[in-house]
Symmetry: C2
Subunit: 350 residues, 2 copies
Amino acid sequence: MNTNETQTPISTLGEFGLINHLTEKVTIRNKSTVKGIGDDAAIVKYDADQETLISTDLLLEGIHFDLSYTPLKHLGYKSVVVNLSDIIAMGGKPQQITVSLGISSKFSIEAVDELYQGITLACDTYGVDIIGGDTTGSETGLVISITALGTTTPNSAFCRKGANDNDLVVVTGDLGSAYMGLQLLNREKTVWKANPNIQPDLDGNDYVLERQLKPEARADIIRFLNELEVTPTSMIDISDGLSSEIKHICEASQVGVNLYEDKFPIDPTTVQLAIDFNLNPTTVVLNGGEDYELLFTVSTKDFDKIKGNPHMTVIGHITDKSFGENLILKDGHSIELKAQGWNGIKPEEE
Amino acid sequence: MNTNETQTPISTLGEFGLINHLTEKVTIRNKSTVKGIGDDAAIVKYDADQETLISTDLLLEGIHFDLSYTPLKHLGYKSVVVNLSDIIAMGGKPQQITVSLGISSKFSIEAVDELYQGITLACDTYGVDIIGGDTTGSETGLVISITALGTTTPNSAFCRKGANDNDLVVVTGDLGSAYMGLQLLNREKTVWKANPNIQPDLDGNDYVLERQLKPEARADIIRFLNELEVTPTSMIDISDGLSSEIKHICEASQVGVNLYEDKFPIDPTTVQLAIDFNLNPTTVVLNGGEDYELLFTVSTKDFDKIKGNPHMTVIGHITDKSFGENLILKDGHSIELKAQGWNGIKPEEE
């Protein structure tokens, strides 16, 4: 939070005043938005040849974000993106969001504005309308609840279920950077708390910081796949970590998987940071999460269409369920994949 | 919270375990629900001749509810009903909800189950499907964020805008009871805190307590109006109090209004309680809120159709905007209507 500028207490606006203040600049861009903010409910109307997708996320201060190092504008942006990522991971086109905020009285209007600027920037970037929400006081921390609506043509959504034996496992972009960005921010916070005179050492780490603080949803991939005429057999976005996401696909599709450690796409900065933090980069990729890349499976007949594409990496293949879920290490050994989340990331033994 | 039964820490389940535990009993009843919980986004599909309505509410511990006297099952039920009431107040048929919960570790699984039982009971009562949500830990209080989806035929939604000069102002049920229920609960809590040996004195007040703790949304009214072939020119539900709701209608419709104090429907228990609390019953009706009754306007030509209907009371009429928004007191004096919320309810001078 920028504390150098003039801060106006929210109490000067009142609840209705705050709602008006936040929503007066909201514009409607989608034809499917019949009625937005300003009534008991919003109205959206899709064509007869479309299905509606709905996704929702609840973000709580102290659990999902730390206001001591998260710029509010980035937080607003990310709050929207994580929801749009869910719609996109179903192959859908995001169209509308609702935004509910619980705001403690310690917040100034400028702070709420900064948060909302990030929200509207994400809406501008992804062509999405804000159609409603709820704004209320909070006696505890900041609460952000966003619900996204999107559309697909009927029976064309990419689900967790659908992966078949021999399908290729593909991931977009690179993995693990968002987690290392978080580690870096936490380390500098600890250093700063111990000695407030020390300036944060974040130089040269712009990439991992941006991956953590301002992730993007891969709408571009859905367009690429459409242009390439590749139809994924299953898809999910990577919010909790590669390991738990591929396990969701295997469970829903009733299949097994082999992932190959040496294929994992990791940015060099991320590898170096993991080493600096005494962490195994593979463990960071498997359990770090928050990359908001897409994980999907395609039939082997589509391999030629995606081969060499800089946005996509084949990291393994689907097997019969009886073979289980495995990680093939660089040395050729096979170990069972486990979804451990952040608990699974521990410093290596010296 | 019932503290007599065995309590199991949520930590025994883990996050995914808790989600599975909460959602395994969720059933799908609406044909429009293509895919519910278990993927990145839910899929709903409505007919080409329908519009989709969306409403969302965020409920925070300490702001919207007090767990010291709110049974969790009732809280779950009410959390759903307040959202459905918004869909119904647009003339829509509620169809699906998403449920996001932020739960502190002090909660037991039994407590979360009780909350969820109330949520599913409301879904059973109103024929609504739970299609997704988000469950997360909370470092502060309980957070409940619910989004409801519903349908109407195109261009038939009842909005705040639409009231015309001379239209009648109609309210359903009676008003002020939910607020007096809350006053009663707060008083007994204060007494109990001062002396825990004194039993709460809630006898004879079942009606106001139920209105506060377990309100219902008036889906029946939408059916009645349909059967009577009455099309309201505007409609809103009463969540914040009659005064602010009628002002929303006047502002959106660019009209004025005269409300008549002697027409306000108030339950005798509520009148007596208000007097006991040294409050003016009219002020309670105007500013109390949380009744979740419907407030709407109809053309005078529809008067004969609703006249004498026990569920509906004509409490005033719409005027030209230039006449303003007025309350005609029992003694014939006219005063300006103000939306004061709970701040407007003060004990009377002795």
